[in-house]
């Protein structure tokens, strides 16, 4: 399945785009997503390592399984406030 990942802040700048797509097998997890992103977008590798991922606007753990309809976003360390 194709997973679209929203990017923000330094990760967006590193990728030069607001979102990227990777192909995961069905029932792929956030862990699989991290690996696929590093493989397909090496310029994101440093950010993939320190980012959290949000699935449907909740922080996910690496074991969280993804579905085709999920909203997925890469959340580098936040600095609001």
């Amino acid at each position: 399945m194709k997973v679209n990942v929203q990017l923000f802040a330094a990760a967006r700048d590193a990728a030069g785009t607001k979102s990227v797509s990777v192909l995961l097998h069905n029932h792929g997890t956030v862990r699989d997503l991290r690996a696929a992103l590093i493989q397909d977008y090496p310029q994101l590798a440093a950010w993939v390592g320190i980012a959290r991922f949000a699935v449907n606007m909740e922080y996910a753990i690496d074991d969280t399984a993804l579905s085709l309809s999920d909203d997925v976003a890469m959340i580098p360390p936040v600095s609001g406030g």
Binding site: Q6, F8, A9, W47, I75, P77, V78, S79, G81
Partner: protein, 140 residues
């Protein structure tokens, strides 16, 4: 009132949003743009956010605060976009029957907001460089 705005935060409306006859005290926190950080000079800031999730997280924080303190009303407003020195990027307002709770809840809310709400700050330094702030990363 839980909202993300693109322009100056209207303090009066934030304070009015937490006024209530049940409240004996209001604590308002404003995060303001500081000129110097560890000796380095800032000219301005740019904030970006993952808007839908940021609003959802801010709502969750307000709900958690309500469970911990006897909050009468509570507002969280974050500004995004471009901010000059001394301008407020965030406002947290809490009203409670007794003041100690308002201090505790407001401080907890801003501390948690800074940990979990997907909003990012870019420092535009006086030396002409710009840099997204990502605490814990090498570049920040």
């Amino acid at each position: 009132m839980i909202t993300i705005v693109e322009n100056s935060i209207d303090l009066d409306s934030v304070v009015r949003s937490v006024e209530d006859p049940a409240a004996g005290g209001v604590v308002l926190f404003l995060g303001t743009t500081r000129q110097f950080t560890r000796g380095r000079e800032t000219l301005s800031l740019d904030y970006d956010c993952y808007r839908e999730m940021a609003l959802a997280k801010m709502e969750q924080l307000a709900e958690q605060a309500r469970q911990r303190w006897p909050i009468v009303r509570c507002s969280l407003v974050h500004r995004i976009g471009h901010l000059g020195l001394t301008e407020a990027s965030v406002a947290v307002a809490v009203s409670t029957p007794h003041r100690a709770d308002a201090f505790d809840a407001a401080e907890w809310l801003i501390d948690e907001l800074k940990k979990s709400v997907p909003i990012w700050k870019k420092e535009n330094w006086a030396d002409g460089t710009s840099q997204w702030v990502h605490p814990g990363s090498e570049s920040s």
